[in-house]
Assembly symmetry: C2
Homo-oligomer: 333 residues x 2
C-alpha cells in the first residue's frame, strides 16, 4: 500500500509509492518507450491486457471487447490503492495516511496514432464526457476530496504510453497548489464580491493583447504572468466552479475550442510535447461563487531549472502578448 | 528592461524576460551545448569574454586576468537589470514592476572539467565564501528582498554551460515558495516556541532511518516527505536563519559535507544531473528564531509530469528510508 506523507513545514502531501520502489540502478537509463510498431495494451483486441474497464462508450461489442470509442480502465500500475481505510497516523512530528485513491486511464480512442489535435471534434467531446462521468461517479465516494484530470502528451511531458490517453487521480486530500488557488480566489471574492476569473475574462476580452480566441462559451488567453512560454488557459465565460457540472452544449463547445487550441499550438510550435490539467473545485464542495473551473495547457519547451521548482519563481523568455499574437495568427480559430 | 509580473490569483511573481524574447522557431530544437573542446568564456585567458568580475580570490594576476581560484562575474545574459527604479505599477487588475535585480555567475574554479564532486574540499570552501561575500555585499542594496543561490549541474538540470559554476539572483520580491516556508515555520514557532527544523534534526537524528550522515556541525538526511527520489537536505545543527551569517569553521565543515554528499550521490546514481538551492531567510530580515537555513539537493532522475507542477502534488517512487540507506552504504562519509 503506498503512503501519503505530509511535509511538516509546508503541509505539502506526497505519495510515496512503495509498491513501485526503485533501486538506484532503475534510474540510470531513462529508456525511451518502445516504438509504435510494438505491442500496445490500449489497442483493439488487447482489452484483456488492461484491468477490466470501468466505463466505455461503444459502437458494438461486449465489455472488455473491441468496438468502443472511448474506454476508461484502472491504471495497471496505480499510484494509489482503491481499497481500505485512510488510517491517519502520526509518526513523531510527522503525519501520514494510507495511499487510498483511484488512478484511471481514459483511452481517448482506438486509433493508436491519432493525437488529440488530429481527432474529430466529436471524439474529443466524448473524452470530455468520460471525464465528467467518471468524476461524477467517483465523487460519491466520500473519501475522495479532489479529482485530478490531466494529460501528458509526448515523452518530454512525462508520458510513458504513446497511445492517446488522459489520466484521472482521485485523492483523499486537496493538493497544495489547488488549495492555494481556491483560497486566494476566496480572498478576492470576500473583498470584491466578484469572481477573480470572471474579472480576468472581462479585462482580457476588452484589452485583446493576450486574447487568443473566443467562442460564445469560452475565452482562450495567454495569462498575464505565465510561468512558461505559450502557457494557454481556456476559461468558460459562464461562471461555474466544477468542471463536472458542465452541460452538454458547454462540453460540445469545449471540444471545439480544445481541438482548435491544440492545433494552433501544434502549428506554431511544430507539434510540441504538452501537458494540460483541468483546474476544478474540490469535489465535496458545493458550487462556489469564488472559484471558476478552467483548463491550463503548457507546451514543454524549456527545461525547468533548479531554482524554479525550489522557489516557485519562474523566468519566462516569451511575453504572453507575443505568444498570443502567434497563436491568433496561426488561424484555425 | 525585463518585467516582474504578479499572477493576480496566486500572487506568484514571474520574470518576463523581454530582452531575451524568443520566437517560436527558437524552441523547435533544443540543441545540446557545444562539446567541451569548444570555446569556454569561463576558462583562463578568456576573462575579457565575461563582464568585468565583481569578486575574485586570486593566487596571482590582475583583475580580469588569469590567476584566480574562484571568480564571480555578472551574467552576460541577465534575467534582471541592475540599474533603475522598481517603478511599481498597476495594469488594470494586474501588478507589475521593472525587473530590477542582480544575476551573477560564481565560476567555481579554472579547471573546465573538474565538477564539484571532484574538487578539493578547500576549493568548495572558497566557493561557499564567494556565496557569503556576494550576499553580504548585495544585501546592502535595500531594493533586494531575497538572494537566491543555486547550482544547475548537467544539461538535464537546466545547465547551459559545462564549466563548473553556480548562480546568484538578487530579487526585489520574496519568491512564493520561500515565503511559504518562512511563514509556515513561523506558525509552528508561534505554537511551540521551537524551530521546526531543529525539531526535525532531533527526531531524524534519534530515528536514524532517514539519516545519511552527521558531523559536529551538520546533519544530512532524506526528508520525511521528499518530492523526488534521493532528495537530500543538509542542515546546520546550530540554529541560524541566514546562510550568509555562517562563520569560518561552519563553512569549512560545510565544504567537507557538501563534497561527501555529492560524491555519495555520484557513486550511488552514477554521476546524475542535479540541482541544489540554498534556502535562507529574506536578506532584509534580522535573525529569525523560527527559520533555519539549509541546502536542498535534488538529483534529476525522473521527469516531472504535468499534474505535479500544476498541483504541487508529487509522486515519489523511492521511499526516503531506502534512498538514505543507499547513501549511507555508499561510504565516503
Amino acid at each position: 500500500m503506498p503512503e501519503l506523507r505530509k511535509d511538516p513545514i509546508t503541509g505539502r502531501w506526497v505519495i510515496i509509492a512503495t509498491d513501485r520502489a526503485k533501486r538506484p540502478s532503475d534510474f540510470l537509463r531513462q529508456t525511451p518507450q518502445p516504438p509504435s510498431a510494438g505491442f500496445c495494451p490500449f489497442d483493439y483486441g488487447n482489452e484483456h491486457k488492461t484491468p477490466p474497464e470501468v466505463l466505455a462508450y461503444r459502437n458494438s461489442g461486449e465489455r472488455d471487447q473491441p468496438g468502443w470509442r472511448v474506454r476508461v480502465v484502472p491504471n495497471k500500475f496505480p499510484v494509489l490503492g482503491i481499497e481500505g481505510d485512510l488510517n491517519r497516523q502520526g509518526e513523531g512530528m510527522y503525519d501520514k495516511m494510507n495511499g487510498i485513491g483511484a488512478h484511471e486511464v481514459i483511452i481517448e480512442g482506438p486509433d493508436h496514432n491519432k493525437t488529440m489535435g488530429d481527432m474529430p471534434e466529436k471524439q474529443i467531446e466524448e473524452v470530455l464526457w468520460a471525464y465528467k462521468d467518471r468524476v461524477n461517479d467517483l465523487k460519491k465516494d466520500g473519501r475522495f476530496r479532489y479529482i485530478l484530470l490531466f494529460k501528458n502528451h509526448g515523452d518530454a511531458a512525462g508520458s510513458t504510453m504513446e497511445h492517446p490517453h488522459s489520466q484521472l487521480i482521485a485523492l483523499p486530500v486537496v493538493p497544495k497548489r489547488v488549495k492555494e488557488e481556491v483560497d486566494a480566489s476566496k480572498l478576492f471574492f470576500d473583498l470584491k464580491e466578484r469572481c477573480i476569473f470572471c474579472d480576468i475574462i472581462r479585462q482580457e476580452s476588452a484589452a485583446g493583447v493576450r486574447l487568443i480566441s473566443e467562442t460564445d462559451r469560452f475565452t482562450v488567453l495567454a495569462p498575464y504572468a505565465p510561468r512558461y512560454p505559450f502557457e494557454t488557459w481556456i476559461l468558460p465565460k459562464r461562471h461555474g466552479s466544477h468542471f463536472e457540472d458542465a452541460d452538454a452544449p458547454t462540453l460540445a463547445n469545449l471540444a471545439w475550442i480544445m481541438r482548435t487550441t491544440i492545433r494552433k499550438l501544434e502549428r506554431v510550435l511544430e507539434r510540441p510535447p504538452y501537458n494540460f490539467v483541468v483546474h476544478s473545485a474540490p469535489v465535496q464542495d458545493g458550487p462556489l461563487a469564488h472559484y471558476h473551473w478552467h483548463i491550463e495547457i503548457i507546451p514543454r519547451l524549456t527545461k525547468v531549472a533548479g531554482f524554479e521548482w525550489a522557489t516557485g519563481f519562474y523566468i519566462n523568455p516569451t511575453p504572453p502578448e507575443e505568444s498570443a499574437k502567434f497563436m491568433r495568427e496561426a488561424g484555425l480559430g
